[in-house]
């Protein structure tokens, strides 16, 4: 399936009703070969228009609606092991991440967030001058 680019907004995350039930999506976080921090979150049933990725004050928040509907009213559920819901999870960002360069894509119900490292955070070799 085609990857869909998600707009990453630099604003407070959309408010979450504290009374509402949210589901924390399962995630993987790893370091890409170029040093970028990568995050993948399982959000089955999430459509691109419901995904909200925001960065504010060093917090990355990801949200989406998992739309999993029964096929119709005249069906009876024989086995039920999963249901849709509101996905929500937030992460503290390292200072090393370049906030302005964060990118997100949605593909096959998986949200992938790419967080490049800021130039200043790359390892620099410091020469020692003999004096």
């Amino acid at each position: 399936m085609a990857e869909k680019k998600i707009n990453v907004e630099r604003k407070p995350a959309a408010e979450v009703d504290p009374e509402s039930q949210t589901v924390a999506p399962l995630v993987d976080v790893w370091e890409a070969p170029d040093g970028a921090v990568m995050l993948a979150a399982d959000m089955p049933g999430a459509k691109p228009e419901s995904v909200d990725v925001s960065v504010e004050r060093g917090v990355l928040a990801i949200q989406a609606d998992g739309e999993i509907e029964p096929p119709g009213d005249d069906y009876s559920a024989v086995y039920g092991e999963f249901a849709g819901g509101r996905y929500y999870r937030a992460f503290a960002l390292s200072d090393e991440v370049d906030r302005a360069a964060i990118e997100a894509t949605l593909s096959d119900g998986v949200l992938t967030v790419r967080m490049p490292r800021a130039k200043a955070a790359e390892t620099r070799k410091i020469e020692i001058k003999s004096g």
Binding site: D28, W30, Y79, D108
Partner: protein, 160 residues
């Protein structure tokens, strides 16, 4: 459930809530579906919902991140088999070749998403017509529609 043990109490420990959810998923607690799940094939991966209608049986499966080509659905009698592979999120070009050192593999900080091959068999609640099965993958949810066999559909019996 008392107030203090409600969802709010758990909120500072999002991870625990997740764990609880996973445990519930595995053990069928909180849902009176364990017996059904055993019949379905034992609460394996992927999780499924099975709906029984008058015209067809609908099976939904949660398979986020699984490519269409990595899914294999087959039907034998009234047993549906789902096979597939969920591949780890490795960036293009960074797939470790044989002989490459461990350091060239992606370094995981958090690894919660299970990966690898899966196979699950589901006993359907009714006989279906295997020739007209349709499977559709959208947003990580696989929906399989299995029209019921002619002999399983309700037939009106005329009363003379």
């Amino acid at each position: 459930m008392t107030r203090i043990r409600g969802e709010n109490w758990w909120d500072p420990f999002g991870g625990f809530r997740q764990l609880q959810r996973e445990l519930e998923r595995w053990m069928g607690l909180g849902r009176d579906l364990l017996g059904e799940a055993r019949r379905a094939g034992g609460m394996g991966y992927p999780p499924v919902n099975v709906y029984d209608g008058t015209e067809d049986v609908v099976v939904q499966c949660e398979v986020p991140g699984v490519a269409r080509d990595d899914l294999d659905v087959s039907l034998t009698g009234d047993t549906l088999t789902l096979r597939g592979v969920r591949r780890p999120p490795v960036e293009a070009g960074s797939e470790p070749e044989q002989g490459e050192s461990e350091q060239q593999r992606p370094r995981y900080e958090v690894r919660e998403r299970g990966m690898g091959e899966f196979c699950r068999t589901i006993v359907l609640p009714d006989r279906v017509d295997g020739e007209r099965v349709e499977a559709d993958l959208d947003a990580g949810v696989l929906t399989i529609r299995l029209p019921k066999a002619e002999s399983s559909r309700p037939h009106k019996v005329p009363v003379n």
